[in-house]
């Protein structure tokens, strides 16, 4: 599927600098006409803690970090013990032989020692972290990537530190490159790449959300820092002035959500992003947005729960929370993009849906989608988003009073922005009549209450009719249908390719709109499917239950993973095969487990 490819893993303690190494490598790849998908299995500590960062480099676009491991850059002893054994046949380990030993590698795996001190001796005294640049130089040789692109990448990375630092790092990289050239054979993929001057960008889902929000005309973004959603804030804050977005860090997520609803009510396109814990605090404000019909966009980037859970690990188990955020019945739209470019484009849709239907739109992402890095092709980015503000009244009505909550067929009542002359109105979180006058305290009026509930509810039905239903991907008559939502689309695609290579045909249904749900269309597709398997990062199968609730369709099996790591294509393919081996009977439940090859425990407690 990916054609020519190779995967490099960087491992060490947090703070060892592997992220900077991977960033530099990513730039080399992105500027050489190649593509990558990088995933960082990091821990919630600033220094110390184990980091495992994989960069999958390929000739063609790839949608997961894959199952291969061709090279490990080991920065500490734990890295050597834990990850060197995971290498694929023919794999290599790069390491600083002044500090580490590569004992006990499985057969067919080659240690590649770099005597960093000797290699860099001519360059004067070095900082410990500068071993990384030597190893990076060696790695670029082994991968058969252009060394001049590494020089560019280092210049970009160290440019702010001044020319001497850039020059030193370039010299260190060249020393590593020359050592590798003299001493080692390049990896298999080297020399077979079709390199070009095509330049791509390296982007995370969070950066795509942020840039998409800017293109969608977001005017107000509020945030409280929370992993793994902070990346959106970290892109928007330094670009606020150029993009004209008021970016406000608030005292807590309650304030964030209330500011967003206030700004949305006042006429700004307003958004925030958070993770499950912060979203829990936002729920009352989401209900307010439903009740006062204030357009607002909430990005929920899921991590492992419950409670503080796994701050730096991925999961898809906040679906129930998003369905049920806030009390009472009110319309909301939940949508889930599936890749980085989709994160960008989803912002156009999310803001337009929020404005057109005057309701909260919840965009669901997860740590994997929001934080993994991927090459993206600038040619596929159209920033000229269509901005549809929906029905806005800009002057006093010709006759009669302005009815902010006028009963209409679609359920949408034309709105006016505060400040408009002649459309003065009251909005309230209490139930209200068409004018906005509260009917809750003195004169609760059951017929008005019923009409207002129904007016609001009509909006989702009307919205659903405009949303494109999902389409079955892959061979139409396949005996297996894999169903997933959000970020699992890519891994299911790649798993299907692996299955096809094993002679098992499967197609897939990727769900983008969770609420409202295309119940009829999905039910019809699944009625035509021979056997269905749901694939999701949740232990209880929240999505499988939603699917059943909406369509009556009970999937034959569930492939689940909830250890904090994303699915790999092979895991999914193996689980599907397991289902078939077990007779393909309903009730199949398979839990994918991330192998830990380490024979040694690395306890964090003091002994």
């Amino acid at each position: 599927m990916a054609g020519l490819e190779t995967t490099v893993g960087f491992s060490g303690a947090a703070g060892d600098g592997q992220a900077a190494m991977a960033d530099a490598l990513a730039l080399v790849v992105a500027r050489s006409g190649l593509q990558l998908y990088a995933y960082n299995s990091y821990q919630s500590v600033i220094r110390g803690g184990h980091v495992w960062l994989r960069v999958r480099i390929s000739q063609e676009e790839v949608e997961t970090h894959g199952d291969r491991l061709d090279a490990v850059v080991a920065l500490d002893a734990e890295a050597m013990v834990r990850h060197a054994p995971e290498l694929s046949e023919g794999g290599v380990v790069l390491f600083n032989s002044d500090k580490l030993k590569a004992d006990g590698l499985p057969p067919g795996r080659t240690p590649l020692p770099f005597p960093v001190k000797a290699l860099a001796a001519a360059l004067g005294p070095q900082l410990a972290v500068q071993q990384n640049t030597v190893l990076l130089g060696g790695l670029v040789f082994l991968l058969g990537l252009p060394v001049e692109k590494l020089v560019e990448a280092l210049s970009k990375q160290f440019g702010k530190k001044g020319e001497p630092v850039v020059a030193l790092n370039v010299a260190l990289a060249r020393a590593g490159w020359e050592h590798a050239q003299k001493s080692f054979a390049p990896l298999q993929a080297a020399g077979r790449w079709v390199l070009s001057e095509k330049r791509r960008s390296v982007m995370t889902g969070n950066e795509a959300f942020a840039m998409g929000a800017a293109a969608a005309g977001c005017g107000f973004y509020a945030a409280y820092p929370m992993t793994p959603a902070t990346g959106v804030l970290h892109w928007l804050a330094p670009h606020a002035e150029r993009c004209g977005i008021v970016v406000k860090q608030a005292e807590d997520e309650i304030a964030v959500a209330n500011m967003v609803v206030g700004a949305g009510h006042a006429g700004a396109r307003a958004m925030c992003a958070t993770s499950g814990g912060g979203f829990a605090l936002m729920t009352e404000a989401i209900g307010m947005a439903g009740m006062i019909e204030a357009p607002s966009v909430f990005v929920l980037v899921m991590r492992g729960g419950p409670s503080t859970g796994l701050p730096t690990k991925t999961e898809q188990a906040d679906l129930n929370q998003a369905f049920g955020a806030s009390q009472g019945d009110f319309p909301r739209i939940l949508l889930a993009p599936s890749d980085v470019l989709d994160c960008f484009r989803t912002m156009e849709e999310a803001f337009n849906l929020a404005d057109r239907w005057q309701l909260p739109v919840i965009v669901l992402s997860d740590l994997l989608l929001s934080e993994h890095n991927q090459t993206v092709d600038p040619d596929r980015f159209d920033f000229r988003f269509r901005i549809d503000r929906g029905q806005v009244v800009r002057e006093a009505p010709a006759e009669g009073p302005f009815l902010r909550y006028r009963i209409t067929e679609s359920g949408v009542s034309p709105r006016a922005f505060p400040g408009t002359s002649g459309t003065v109105f009251q909005a309230g979180t209490d139930e209200h009549d068409e004018k906005g006058i509260l009917i809750s305290d003195v004169s609760t009026h059951p017929p008005t209450r019923r009409r207002m509930v129904e007016k609001r509810a009509r909006k989702v039905g009307a919205a659903l009719r405009e949303l494109p239903p999902p389409v079955l991907e892959g061979p139409a008559g396949a005996p297996l249908t894999l169903v997933g939502w959000g970020s699992t689309r890519g891994v299911i695609r790649e798993a299907r390719a692996l299955l096809a290579a094993r002679g098992i045909e499967a197609n897939q249904l990727a769900i983008r709109y969770l609420v409202p749900f295309h119940e009829r269309e999905v039910a019809a597709i699944l009625a035509g499917a021979a056997k269905t398997l749901v694939v999701e990062n949740s232990s209880s199968g929240q999505f499988a239950r939603h699917l059943r609730a909406e369509t009556g369709h009970a999937a034959a099996g569930r492939i689940l993973k909830y250890d904090g790591e994303p699915f790999t294509p092979r895991e999914v393919a193996d689980a599907v095969e397991g289902f078939l081996r077990a007779g393909g009977q309903p009730g199949y439940r398979h839990v994918c487990e991330t192998p830990d090859a380490s024979p040694v425990a690395f306890p964090r407690t003091r002994s």
Binding site: G244, V261, D382, F383, R384
Partner: protein, 294 residues
């Protein structure tokens, strides 16, 4: 106090079609009148005024004023109002609520709104009781005060909203009394004209659920700072006056200083009202931003 030209607007222009439903004799009537009178006096047109409230008896106030209004969530009026103001800085944004709303459930937002100094006027109708829920203790209930939730007497020290606001960095802190709506209207005018966050804690007695903090109680005790003489630019003097809660209680402006507002310090807001700004990105700028990542 006002140096503005005479306004063509009258109190009647700010009366909504909804009649207040507070108990007869409630202090909030006086606050309502003061708000309407101040808006009229300052010549703020109804469509330029946005009143945001939380939940509680006093938070019903926006519904009785002919202006834009938003009756938001319990304790959340300040962040909602902040979002509104930062979305459209041309609006005059007034925030109203009670002591439970502002100093209890919303206390966190209160502190941060004070130090943030967004140009908001916050009117707290302080009656030391939860009235709408029929009489429980509030953050400003006196020690030993018997309420439905504290039949043996309130065991918690009351919070002092004025010293809290001062300690939080508020640039305008005042106290009003609903029993003197004309004086209160002048305070509201000053607070609206103040650039930045302005707090007016208003003694606004509940006639139904407390027999302690009554209008008569305050009438006997309040005195006007401006008559007595007070340096409202001194934090020390303001803090001292704020703690005067015995036989004599000051009303008026305790503290008023000029300091840059949030709007003046935020680079995006400094460039103009975001409400007027064209939205979205050009393809050129978008590609430039994308290229930063390549």
């Amino acid at each position: 106090m006002s140096t503005l030209p005479p306004s063509p607007l009258r109190i009647e222009d700010f009366k909504s079609e909804v009649a207040p439903d507070w108990c007869p004799g409630c202090g909030d009537y006086g606050v309502l009148r003061a708000v309407q009178s101040a808006a009229a006096g300052l010549g703020i047109a109804p469509h330029e005024l946005m009143i945001v409230s939380g939940i509680g008896c006093s938070s019903n106030l926006p519904g009785f004023v002919h202006s834009y209004g938003l009756h938001s969530l319990h304790g959340r009026s300040l962040p909602v109002a902040t979002g509104i103001k930062l979305a459209n800085t041309a609006l005059t944004v007034l925030v109203t609520g009670g002591d439970g709303d502002g100093y209890g459930i919303g206390a966190g937002h209160f502190i941060h709104a004070a130090r943030r100094n967004v140009d908001l006027t916050y009117l707290v109708m302080d009656n030391s009781i939860y009235g709408l829920t029929t009489g429980q203790t509030s953050p400003t209930s006196g020690l030993g005060m018997k309420t439905k939730s504290t039949p043996a007497g309130n065991a918690e020290q009351p919070l002092n909203p004025l010293t809290l606001a001062l300690a939080s960095g508020a640039s305008f802190v005042a106290r009003g009394f609903s029993g003197d709506p004309n004086h209160l209207a002048e305070l509201v005018k000053l607070a609206i004209r103040h650039r930045g966050f302005a707090l007016i804690d208003v003694f606004s007695p509940c006639v139904t659920y407390t027999k302690l903090n009554t209008t008569a109680f305050y009438k006997q005790r309040v005195y006007k700072l401006e008559e007595k003489g007070h340096d409202a630019t001194s934090l020390t003097a303001a803090t001292e006056r704020a703690q005067e809660l015995g036989e004599r209680i000051p009303i008026g402006v305790l503290y008023a200083v000029e300091r840059p507002t949030y709007e003046e310090l935020d680079p995006v807001l400094r460039a103009g009202n975001p409400f007027e700004r064209p939205r979205g990105l050009s393809q050129e700028l978008g590609l430039e931003l994308l290229a930063e990542l390549g």
